[in-house]
């Protein structure tokens, strides 16, 4: 009796198991690139807040009018060229002809207007709408010509148009899916997003055979959401995936020694920094901020904790981003100078404060902050490390500013400093309106607000550079290090995998051996 029951139960279970959808088989098929990422994929709506691995999926499916290449240069994509007219508020974009969206809808001026109108429509309540409210009107001049009129002359419009929020979506799909475009994207890009897709499932991208540009070599890309780093490592070792995005330093070192794998260290545009609460003592004193800067031995932490997977940062943005200027002498580790500055500021015995850090968001975030707390202790500053889960962290640093210092990192959005600087240095965006930690320098404010309206890129760049230099001299933040974007590839992956400044990975030139 018992035997029979077990047999039946076994048969039932095998039947259930067998009925599962075929998602992950053993080794990847010859024409399929399988990628494992450690983040949670939720939405691909260009206007929703997304993180870099989601940008990579968006960039495979959708395209922008203008884009940045790996060198950071502006290149035409869906727009063939553009010009600003004698009225500096009027931009004309001439569109590429003969392009169709993946659902067959023709790409033309009407499609661009539909997208730009959606982008600037504040009533949608999407987080990136506010980036686009500076556009006053969009006019269809002809089938392939669009005129964009801004409220004020805009110097940042081209840079902004390279942002993932400016991805052009099929207007028919927008109409059909509404807010559910988040899981049903349709664009003009080299790969077609396989819908329906539910959060947590593998993301399947199939080559767009009607693509207007050079056809990608790889037929299918599967992106898997594998949250546990050791599991990602095991999948790559077994050859069940071909590429892994983000691995802890120990695993990277292991793959670096193995000739069967290639470790890519790209970009280095993600700058990690310490924001201070400028609204209260002791951090409202420049000498205290400077003392903390001298007390941190960035190079030792990069070597000891981050295992050389990052390099020292010396500005709010990284080299290659418009507005960056270097400062070779930025990192000067000197506990003596730190102590002297603290004494001068009236804290000869240091003080006690909190160092809030996200937990598990960035490579070794908590560990590096513990190391910094240890170094601060040597100059008398007792910093208690408070690790917080991401949503709590964001809420606390924005809405309840009862912290002293915290730890954060930003990639180089749009490869143009205006984006990050307006959100991190412009006092108008002080918390809770934005994330600026009560830093206020009227000259920085003036430069950033004026740069918005300068269409002469040389003049504009000089203004951004100056604003960032002023903030650096103010020690508005202490810049720590720049993370490389780590991708580990199996030997099967050839061709050219490219990584942009905002950490978007471009798969279209990858080949499989």
């Amino acid at each position: 009796m018992a035997v029979r029951t077990v047999t039946i139960a076994l048969a039932v279970i095998l039947a259930i198991a067998g009925s599962s959808v075929q998602v992950g088989r053993g080794a990847p098929a010859r024409d399929t690139l399988v990628v494992a990422a450690g983040v949670q994929f939720t939405t691909f709506d260009p206007l929703a807040n997304a993180h870099p691995p989601a940008f990579s999926v968006e960039a495979a499916v959708m395209e922008t009018l203008v884009a940045r290449n790996v060198k950071g240069e502006l290149v035409p994509v869906l727009a063939e060229d553009w010009r600003v007219s004698s009225d500096p508020r009027v931009w004309t974009f001439r569109l590429r002809r003969g392009v169709r969206f993946q659902d067959g809808t023709p790409f033309n001026a009407e499609a661009v207007k539909a997208n730009l109108d959606r982008m600037r429509d504040k009533s949608l309540g999407q987080p990136k709408n506010s980036l686009w409210t500076f556009i006053e009107d969009v006019r269809v001049k002809s089938e392939y010509e669009v005129e964009v009129i801004t409220e004020q002359p805009s110097g940042a419009i081209l840079a902004l148009l390279t942002d993932s929020s400016a991805n052009i979506v099929s207007p028919a799909a927008l109409k059909r899916f509404g807010t559910q475009i988040a899981t049903n994207i349709v664009g003009t890009g080299p790969y077609v997003f396989q819908a329906p897709w539910a959060p947590g499932q593998d993301i399947v991208l199939v080559r767009n055979e009607q693509y207007w540009g050079p056809k990608p070599k790889v037929q299918r890309i599967v992106v898997k959401e594998i949250r546990e780093a050791l599991t990602r490592q095991a999948l790559l070792e077994r050859g069940e995936v071909d590429a892994v995005i983000d691995l802890p330093p120990e695993a990277v070192l292991r793959f670096q020694r193995d000739p069967n794998f290639v470790v890519r260290k790209d970009g280095g545009t993600r700058v990690a920094f310490l924001p201070f609460n400028h609204s209260r003592p002791p951090f409202n004193d420049l000498r205290v901020r400077k003392a903390i800067h001298h007390a941190i031995d960035v190079k030792a932490i990069i070597k000891g904790v981050l295992r050389d997977l990052s390099v020292p940062a010396d500005n709010l943005v990284a080299p290659g981003v418009v507005g960056y200027t270097p400062d070779p002498d930025y990192h000067e580790y000197s506990p003596d100078k730190a102590k002297a500055l603290l004494a001068e500021a009236g804290y000869p015995n240091g003080f006690t404060t909190q160092l809030v850090t996200p937990d598990g968001r960035y490579i070794k975030d908590k560990e590096t902050m513990v190391a910094i707390a240890g170094q601060l202790k040597r100059v008398g500053i007792q910093a208690d490390v408070v690790p917080l889960e991401w949503t709590t962290f964001l809420t606390q640093v924005r809405v309840k500013p009862d912290w002293g210092m915290y730890y954060w990192s930003w990639p180089g959005y749009t490869a143009d400093a205006a984006y990050n600087a307006e959100l991190l240095l412009w006092s108008e965006n002080s918390s809770p309106k934005g994330f600026v930690p009560f830093y206020k320098n009227t000259e920085v404010d003036r430069l950033l607000s004026n740069a918005r309206y300068i269409t002469d890129q040389k003049v504009r760049t000089a203004m951004l550079e100056r604003a960032l230099k002023l903030a650096r001299n103010d020690y508005a933040y202490v810049y720590l290090w720049r993370f490389f974007q780590i991708t580990v590839l199996s030997k099967r992956v050839g061709g050219n995998l490219e990584v942009l400044a905002d950490e978007t990975i471009l798969f279209k030139n990858v080949e499989l051996r």
Partner: protein
């Protein structure tokens, strides 16, 4: 029947507690959704869109009214309907739990019987040493160990993911380890108790074969406490096994719920907990029915 009706207040209680507690946790879903570029007006607009600007009791009333109509709402992050997500993730969790319960039933019960029948011999000690290890090992570690041994080194089974029956083996084993250990100890204790009973001695005295003594005379009455433990374990598994699911990238309910908690995706959390509470209560009910069938003395009047 009275017990079935009793489920309703339990579910209402659970949903109220969850509804309140997700709103007490620090961390604002609007801030998470708005990200870095959202302005203060965006925050207000998002809160309004999610209905978070209404009083909590009103939010609950609206939610409950929708649930009664079969509408569990939509994810606040990507507008994806909650119910289909719960169904597809729930199926995966059910598959994994059934696999783990099968292993528990076969391995746990047999180990327990062997240990009781050969009590205080080498086999008993071996089985109980296994049980002790199984109860005390961290799931995370044992999962990675199994993965390393059978997937990375030996290459017999896939590392992680879902799809083929082979994908079910390692997470199934990992999830089953604790309950197998527990059930084997329960079975041993219960069987030892029964085997010393006089009717067992009588059965032997009248010349029954040993397998018959063991299976027909002892096993059935020894089974009752085991079924209860079994039911409880099954209930826990249906609530999702976050750790096992994370290690093996198994798209189950536990992972969905944990992610929803991190994103403060209230509709998913609320719907998920409702489903879990419901399945827990139903499994308990089923357990009681089975126990009553196995032991007539426990039947309700």
């Amino acid at each position: 029947m009275r017990r079935v009706i009793g489920i309703v207040p339990v579910l209402i209680g659970v949903t109220i507690v969850v509804f309140l507690s997700v709103r007490l946790v620090p961390g604002d879903p609007a801030v998470a959704i708005a990200g870095i570029a959202g302005t203060e007006e965006d925050l207000a607009r998002i809160r309004h869109r999610l209905g978070l600007d209404r009083p909590v009791y009103l939010q609950y009333a609206i939610w409950l009214a929708n649930v009664v109509r079969g509408d569990l709402g939509r994810s606040v992050v990507n507008d994806y309907p909650v119910l289909p997500q719960l169904v597809s993730r729930g199926q995966m969790t059910l598959k994994l739990s059934l696999m783990a319960m099968l292993i528990t039933a076969v391995v746990g019960v047999s180990l327990g019987i062997v240990a009781a029948y050969r009590s205080h011999t080498f086999w008993d000690y071996l089985a109980m040493a296994f049980a002790m290890t199984g109860i005390s090992m961290p799931v995370f570690w044992i999962g990675l160990l199994l993965m390393y041994a059978f997937a990375v080194r030996l290459g017999w089974l896939p590392v992680a993911g879902a799809g083929t029956p082979a994908h079910l083996v390692l997470p199934g084993l990992t999830l089953a380890l604790y309950s197998t250990a527990l059930v084997s100890r329960m079975t041993r204790a219960s069987m030892l108790d029964v085997l010393s009973k006089e009717y067992v001695r009588t059965a032997r005295a009248k010349g029954c074969s040993e397998p018959r003594v063991l299976i027909v005379h002892s096993f059935r009455s020894g089974l009752v406490p085991v079924i209860t433990v079994f039911g409880l374990q099954f209930g826990y598994m249906l609530a999702g096994a976050v750790v096992t699911e994370t290690v093996f990238a198994w798209p189950g309910l536990g992972r969905l719920l944990a992610d929803a908690i991190f994103l403060r995706d209230f509709p998913i959390i609320q719907g998920g907990v409702l489903v879990i509470a419901l399945s827990f209560v139903l499994v308990n009910l089923a357990t009681d029915v089975i126990v009553a069938a196995a032991d007539p003395r426990l039947r309700y009047e």
